[in-house]
């Protein structure tokens, strides 16, 4: 409670309020703009925040994350193109509703569901993160190693075309993290004689390149795409009847979204997809899904915003990113010299509570902005792409340069931008590379420390119960989906007519 109150007093500062407002408005805008996601926006914004106080910097990014996740729904409903990936499921029913002339009703449902999902998850975050951090106090190097490996294994099931490609991406990220001077032996690795590389490849230019540069090239390949816009109308608050219809869906989606969010690496996109399927499964009017069912909007929208708070739980409590955007936020914490984990909760509770409260405020604020101004905000999609994307790239260049004032960082950003475009073309997503890069150092250092503790006896890993739990979860993360599909296929075959089993 004391932490909460001191966090609240930090937030009540006019500067902090301004920061949260900027983050929220900015978040809604980038969420709306197709191609610009909160992940890219946080990566682009990160270099700007280096000179800010850590609490203000992280609050800004967190507010942007919450609002950006919501903003995607506005474009999903009005132009059938999710403004951000987590809103992809929202378009399935949102756009048909807009076509029927019910854009205002659809936007109202999306706004309220997003807000409820977001607030629920932040409340869970406030309770769960300190508890999880307390558990993590008992973690030694072997536990952290197992946890980081578990986090990376979850990449197998994040959204994307191929589990194997996601895992390759994650491992590639870990490999990039080994560039520079080896921590324990001071031997230079993969520096190719460049003095700038002795400190390693910084993740900020890599993030900006993979998310910003690659997206610009992707956009250049779709210049002939013309969006059909449905005229934005005033947003309508859901009627009592509508709300009664969706409240069960929202409640379930809050739970699904928060849970999926807490799982390492799994963010709003997966949460929204699962929540959409669940909303459909529980609905009495399944045939209405895809034609404009309000549950089809409420489900994914509550879930993707619920995933924001959820994803912050492992990020802050354990230092393991819960989603792509929280990987960037984790990077921001590290840039500010803060290592998330139990010690952060012990040493800086007021800062963490300030971040939690900032997220709560952002959720309420975007609801207000959405209800009053969605129509106005939607107009940002009229900004010509021919001016928007050069601006993004200019910021990408300046942002990657600004951090260490090194042109090599700009080249790294550019190389990863081009690489990201090529990889995306062949169904590799950028998020696993970032996860690997962020977690790589932790994986290597904890592995080395563990083996020193165990005197190079690998088997001693299996004498620690928490490590065993994480290893089991890792195996489930890697093979769970495949085994599950096989079992499901087997069951379905057995229940087919003509089968001799029941």
């Amino acid at each position: 409670m004391e932490g909460f109150l001191s966090g609240l007093s930090m937030i009540l500062d006019p500067y902090m309020i301004l920061v949260i407002i900027i983050g929220t408005v900015g978040g809604v805008l980038v969420g709306i703009l197709p191609g610009l996601s909160s992940t890219m926006a946080t990566a682009l914004l990160l270099p700007f925040t280096v000179t800010m106080e850590p609490a203000a910097a992280i609050s800004l990014l967190a507010a942007l994350y919450c609002a950006g996740t919501y903003g995607g729904s506005i474009t999903a409903i009005l132009i059938n193109a999710p403004g951000a990936p987590p809103a992809a499921a929202t378009a399935l029913d949102g756009y048909p509703m807009a076509l029927r002339g019910e854009a205002g009703r659809a936007l109202g449902i999306a706004t309220i569901s997003s807000c409820i999902g977001g607030i629920f998850s932040v409340l869970v975050l406030m309770v769960a993160a300190p508890l999880l951090a307390r558990v993590a106090y008992k973690f030694g190097a072997p536990e952290y190693f197992a946890l980081a490996v578990f986090g990376l294994s979850m990449l197998a099931s994040i959204s994307g075309q191929s589990s194997v490609k996601n895992l390759i991406g994650g491992a590639f990220g870990v490999l990039i993290s080994t560039v520079g001077v080896d921590f324990t032996t001071s031997v230079e690795r993969f520096t190719f004689g460049l003095p700038e590389l002795t400190d390693g490849i910084h993740f900020i230019p890599v993030m900006i390149g993979l998310f910003g540069g690659a997206e610009l090239l992707t956009q250049s390949a779709t210049l002939d795409l013309i969006y059909k816009r449905v005229a934005a109308v005033a947003v309508r608050l859901p009627s009592r009847e509508d709300f009664r219809k969706v409240r069960g869906v929202i409640a379930r989606s809050c739970g699904i979204g928060t849970f999926i969010g807490i799982l390492p690496a799994e963010g709003g996109t997966v949460a929204a997809m699962i929540a959409y399927n669940e909303a459909k499964r529980w609905s009495r009017e399944k045939d209405q899904f895809g034609k404009g069912a309000i549950e089809g909007i409420a489900g994914p929208e509550a879930a993707n915003n619920a995933a924001t708070g959820g994803a912050m739980v492992p990020t802050l409590a354990l230092g393991i990113p819960g989603s792509a955007t929280t990987a960037v936020i984790l990077g921001a914490l590290m840039v500010h010299g803060l290592r998330p984990g139990p010690h952060l909760f012990a040493e800086q509770p007021h800062m963490l509570y300030a971040i939690f409260i900032a997220m709560l405020v952002a959720n309420v604020l975007f609801m207000g902005l959405g209800l009053v101004g969605a129509k106005v905000f939607a107009r940002v999609t009229l900004i010509p792409r021919t001016f928007l994307w050069p601006s993004v790239f200019v910021l990408a260049v300046v942002g990657s340069y600004a951090l260490s004032q090194s042109l090599l960082d700009v080249w790294i950003m550019l190389i990863f931008g081009i690489l990201g475009f090529v990889l995306r073309r062949y169904d590799f997503s950028p998020a696993p590379i970032i996860m690997g890069l962020i977690l790589g150092e932790l994986v290597e250092n904890t592995l080395k420390q563990s083996l020193l503790i165990f005197e190079h006896n690998w088997l001693l890993f299996f004498e620690r119960p928490i490590v065993i739990v994480f290893f089991v979860l890792t195996v489930l993360g890697l093979f769970g989906a495949t085994v599950g599909r096989a079992v499901f296929a087997c069951l379905r075959r057995n229940t087919m007519p003509g089968s001799f089993e029941k």
Binding site: T184, T185, L223, F393, Y401
Partner: protein
């Protein structure tokens, strides 16, 4: 080996391409897997050239061990990717449009010019050239944008955030 893959592939309806196509054409994922394997080989080769560890620090894992471990994991995953490519249907991909290739070239030129012309001049040129390349024909508006936006960003970063940008080789020569 090639006799086995059709049996795996035929389990899923419609996923098996014609036999001839499968045996002669290299699939994208197979090519990617092969490129990754070559990449891994290069990485492992580089790790053999790491400096020797000072004896005082040689207690723990040698510095090349961890990158090698990760490389081997990547290689195993690449082999799985190649195997999967044999049994999965290949996605049709559009050719990369010329404008994307030109955009990539422009990005590279922009970063080269940063060092030559200085940040502001390079930004202005880039902000004019990219919209034109992307089909923007409102030249006056483009010019206005190409001057105001870079100027705003430059002033924000150099003034407020105190970033010292590269001044460029050419302005220094003439200045």
């Amino acid at each position: 080996m090639s006799d086995r893959s059709p049996a795996d592939g035929t389990k899923e309806k419609g996923t098996t391409p014609p036999k001839a196509a499968r045996s002669f054409r290299l699939r994208a994922d197979e090519a990617i897997g092969a490129v990754i394997l070559v990449f891994v080989a290069v990485i492992i080769a580089i790790t053999t050239a790491f400096d020797d560890v000072p004896t005082a620090l040689s207690q723990g894992i040698p510095p090349e061990q961890f990158p090698r471990l990760i490389s081997v994991i990547i290689a195993c995953l690449a082999v799985i990717l190649i195997i999967q490519a044999r049994v999965r249907e290949e996605k049709a991909r559009k050719r990369v449009p010329l404008v994307t290739l030109l955009t990539t070239a422009l990005l590279v030129i922009y970063v080269v010019l940063l060092d030559w012309l200085g940040t502001l001049a390079a930004m202005i040129l880039f902000c004019f050239a990219l919209p034109i390349l992307w089909g923007e024909r409102r030249y006056v508006w483009t010019a206005v944008y190409a001057i105001l936006f870079p100027l705003g960003v430059y002033l924000l970063f150099s003034g407020v955030l105190e970033v010292r940008f590269p001044k460029g080789v050419l302005p220094a020569l003439f200045g």
